[in-house]
C-alpha cells in the first residue's frame, strides 16, 4: 500500500468499511433463513415401541420426509402405505441422468443426453457434516458418500465490471482482502485508536494475530513478498533445481479490492451450513431417494395424484387419481396419516383440518430457483485451469458455475453446474423456455472461461423450480412473522393427520429439515397412538 493510500484511509473510512462488512454479514443472515447457523437437532432415529397390532399409517409423498417416516414406522411395526405423485421415490432429492425425460409445467420436455456417469442435481446437492439425520439414512441405506467442495481457492471470482471482466482466483481475492484489513487494523491499534475497547495486553496479542491472519510482514504491512505469496500464490510455482526462481505476486491495492466488490464472494464458506466437511452421494444426490425407494418398494404406490384427504374419528382416507393417465378416483384408508405434500400443492387439496392448520398451510409462499447442467466434452477447467471441484462466483445472472466433484483427472467429459440462482433472479429464468435458459448460461460461462465454454458444450438441461409439476417452487419460505404466528399450527397433530417436510422445519430447503420434521412428527403421532 502506498503512502498516499495510507493517508487516504482515515479512521472514519476504516470504521465505515468495518461497518459495511458487519452490516453485510447481518444482512446476509437476515435475508434468508438458509444462511442461519442452525443445528439440526437430530438425536438419532426415533425409538418407537410396538404399536397395537394392525395399526396403519398412510404416508403422502415418497420424498425424504415421507421415506423417513415410512422406514421408521415400518420398523416399529406399523402397516405403512405410501402414495407418491411421481414415478420414482426421492421427491426433490433428485438427479437427472442421460436417458431421463423431464416435462415441466407448460409442457416443455427435455430429454437429458448426458453420457453415462454424468448427472446434475436439480435440487439439493450438499450434505453438511452436521446434518446428522440425512447422513444417518444415507449410510443406513448403503449410499456412498464423497467430499463436496464448497470453497475452491483456485476457482474464480468474476465481476464483469472489475479487472476488465477478467476472473480472479478466489485465493487472491481472499488473501488481499484479509491482508489489507489486517494491516489497517494493526495500524489503528498502534495509533492507540482502540485503547477504549482493547486492553494494552490484548492489543499485543491482537497485533500478533493480525500478522498471522493477514500474512503481514515484519513491519505489519501487507506487501509483495514471501508471506503474501504463500497466501495468494506466486506468479510461477516454486520447483526444483536451477530452473526455479522465486516469483512473488503483487497484491492488489485496498482500493482495487474494495471496488472490485469481489469480497462479496468470500463469505459463503464461512457459514455453518457451508463449512468443511460437506458431502455428496456418489453418483448423484438422487441416489438417496432411489435407495429409500428400493428399501420401501413394497409399500410405495407411484403415479398417485392426491385430490382429497378426509378424516373422521376412526380413520383417514385419501382419494387419488393416476397422475399420468387420470381415470376414476381411488381411495386408500388408514388409521393415521403423515402428509408430506408440499404446502404449495396441499393448499389446493381439500382436507378437513382445523382453520388454524389451513391458515398455516396457506401462508407459505414457495420460492424460485434455477439449476442448469451443461455437459462439456472436455474438462477444460481441470486440464487448462487446474480447477478441481468447487464453485466460481460471478455477478452475472447465472450467479455460479459449479465444477463436477467427482472423476477428477478423468480426462473425459464433465457436467458443469451452469447456474444456481435463487430468489429474484430465478423468476426471470422460469419465464424463459429451457433452451433459452441454457443459451443464456452458455453466454455467461463464456465470459468466465472464454474460448472454451461454448466450444466444448454438448448438451444440457435446465430446471426452474416454479415449473416443477409436483412442487410449484423450490421450498417453503417463512417470514419471521408468519413463523411466529403459524408454524406451531402447521406442525401440530390435527386429529389423525400430521404434516412433515422441509416446510415443517426450521431448516427450510434442507433435506435435514425433512428428516427432522418427519422424525418429530412420527414421534408425536406414535405417542398419540400408544397413549390412546
Amino acid at each position: 500500500m502506498s503512502e498516499a493510500e495510507n493517508a487516504a484511509v482515515s479512521r472514519r473510512s476504516l470504521l465505515k468499511m468495518i461497518g459495511t462488512l458487519a452490516g453485510s454479514t447481518a444482512m446476509y443472515n437476515a435475508m434468508t433463513e438458509m444462511g442461519f447457523a442452525q443445528e439440526s437437532g437430530y438425536a438419532g432415529p426415533p425409538k418407537l415401541t410396538a404399536p397395537p397390532p394392525g395399526t396403519s399409517v398412510l404416508i403422502l409423498g415418497a420424498g425424504i420426509a415421507g421415506c423417513t417416516a415410512a422406514i421408521e414406522l415400518r420398523d416399529a411395526g406399523y402397516k405403512v402405505t405410501i402414495l407418491e405423485y411421481n414415478n420414482r421415490s426421492g421427491g426433490r432429492n433428485w438427479s437427472l441422468y442421460g436417458g431421463d425425460t423431464y416435462t415441466e409445467l407448460g409442457g416443455a420436455t427435455q430429454h437429458v443426453q448426458f453420457d453415462p456417469g454424468q448427472y446434475i442435481n436439480p435440487g439439493p446437492w450438499r450434505l453438511p457434516h452436521h446434518h446428522y439425520g440425512i447422513l444417518h439414512y444415507a449410510t443406513r441405506l448403503g449410499v456412498g458418500l464423497e467430499p463436496f467442495q464448497q470453497v475452491n481457492y483456485n476457482a474464480y471470482v468474476h465481476n464483469t465490471t472489475a479487472y476488465g471482466g477478467k476472473p480472479k482466483r478466489y485465493r487472491e481475492v481472499q488473501a488481499d482482502f484479509h491482508g489489507h484489513v489486517a494491516e489497517l487494523l494493526a495500524k489503528t491499534t498502534k495509533q492507540n485508536a482502540l485503547d477504549q475497547t482493547v486492553t494494552k495486553e490484548d492489543q499485543e496479542i491482537l497485533l500478533e494475530a493480525l500478522r498471522a491472519w493477514g500474512a503481514l510482514d515484519a513491519n505489519m504491512q501487507y506487501v509483495k513478498g514471501r508471506q503474501t505469496s504463500n497466501r495468494r500464490g506466486p506468479v510461477v510455482d516454486d520447483g526444483g533445481g536451477l530452473a526455479s526462481l522465486p516469483t512473488y505476486s503483487e497484491p492488489d491495492t485496498l482500493s482495487t479490492v474494495l471496488n472490485s466488490y469481489m469480497w462479496r464472494a468470500i463469505g459463503w464458506g464461512h457459514d455453518y451450513e457451508y463449512q468443511t466437511s460437506i458431502f455428496q452421494p456418489k453418483g448423484g444426490m438422487g441416489q438417496i431417494g432411489l435407495a429409500f425407494g428400493r428399501e420401501l418398494a413394497p409399500l410405495i404406490k407411484y403415479n398417485c395424484k392426491v385430490i382429497d384427504i378426509h378424516q373422521d374419528d376412526k380413520s383417514v382416507t385419501a382419494t387419488y387419481v393416476d397422475s399420468q393417465k387420470g381415470g376414476a378416483p381411488q381411495k386408500v384408508t388408514a388409521d393415521w396419516c403423515v402428509c408430506t405434500i408440499p404446502a404449495s400443492v396441499l393448499s389446493q387439496i381439500p382436507m378437513n383440518v382445523s382453520a388454524k392448520k389451513k391458515a398455516a398451510i396457506n401462508v407459505i409462499p414457495y420460492g424460485a430457483g434455477l439449476k442448469v447442467g451443461l455437459q462439456m466434452k472436455r474438462r477444460f477447467w481441470e486440464e487448462d485451469e487446474r480447477i478441481y471441484g468447487g464453485l466460481t462466483y460471478t455477478n452475472q445472472p447465472n450467479a455460479m458455475i459449479g465444477y463436477p466433484m467427482w472423476d477428477y483427472f478423468s480426462r473425459g467429459k464433465g457436467v458443469l453446474l451452469g447456474a444456481y440462482v435463487m430468489g429474484q433472479g430465478a423468476f426471470l429464468f422460469a419465464s424463459k423456455p429451457p433452451e433459452q435458459r441454457i443459451a443464456d448460461c452458455l453466454e455467461y460461462g463464456e465470459k468466465v472461461h472464454p474460448g472454451q465454454y461454448k466450444a466444448n458444450y454438448e448438451c444440457g438441461v435446465a430446471v426452474a423450480w416454479h415449473r416443477v409439476p409436483w412442487t410449484l417452487g423450490c421450498s417453503g419460505q417463512w417470514s419471521e412473522e408468519n413463523r411466529a404466528a403459524h408454524y406451531d399450527d402447521l406442525c401440530a397433530l390435527d386429529g389423525r393427520i400430521v404434516l412433515a417436510g422441509e416446510h415443517a422445519s426450521r431448516l427450510p430447503a434442507w433435506q435435514e429439515g425433512a428428516v427432522t420434521s418427519a422424525t418429530d412428527a412420527i414421534t408425536r403421532l406414535h405417542q398419540r397412538v400408544v397413549g390412546a
Binding site: Y28, G106, A265, P365, S431
Partner: protein
C-alpha cells in the same frame, strides 16, 4: 357484477391470508457476487413476460401438475380489478408477494395488461394510486 362491498371483502380476505413478506430483495446470500437484477420492466406486457408467465404461462392458460397455476386467460375473477392487485401485492397461498419487487406503476400496468388480453376485456383501468392504496 359484484357489489363494491363484496369486492372489498374479497380484497380484505386475500390480504389476510397472505401477509408473507418474501418479496424483499432475494439474493443468494453470503458468498454471492451477483445482486438481484433490477425489476425495471416498463409496461404491463414486459412485466408479464419476464415474471408472471414463469408460472401462469406465456398464453396465460396456467398449468396443472400435482397442484395447479390458475389460468389468467378468460378469468372471471379479474372482473374486480382490486383482486389481482391485492394478489400481486400480497401474494396468495404459494404465490409469493411481489409488492416489494414491483412499483405501483408496474403493478397497475400488468393488471391492466392482463385484464385486456388473453380473452379478458375489462375496460376500467387500475391506477398506481389504486395499487398504493392496497399496500
Amino acid at each position: 357484477m359484484r357489489t363494491p362491498l363484496a369486492a372489498a371483502a374479497a380484497i380484505i380476505s386475500v390480504a389476510a391470508v397472505a401477509g408473507a413478506r418474501a418479496d424483499t430483495a432475494q439474493d443468494m446470500g453470503a458468498g454471492a457476487m451477483n445482486r438481484s437484477p433490477p425489476y425495471n420492466f416498463q409496461g404491463g406486457e414486459a412485466v408479464f413476460k419476464n415474471i408472471c408467465q414463469g408460472c401462469h404461462m406465456a398464453n396465460a392458460q396456467g398449468a396443472v401438475g400435482a397442484g395447479a397455476y390458475p389460468a389468467l386467460a378468460r378469468n372471471a375473477k379479474l372482473e374486480v380489478a382490486g383482486y389481482p392487485v391485492a394478489v400481486i401485492v400480497h401474494g396468495q397461498k404459494a404465490m409469493p408477494a411481489f409488492g416489494g419487487l414491483l412499483n405501483d406503476q408496474q403493478i397497475a400496468d400488468v393488471v391492466n395488461y392482463v385484464r385486456t388480453h388473453f380473452g379478458n376485456n375489462y375496460k376500467d383501468k387500475v391506477t398506481p394510486a389504486d395499487v398504493k392504496a392496497q399496500r
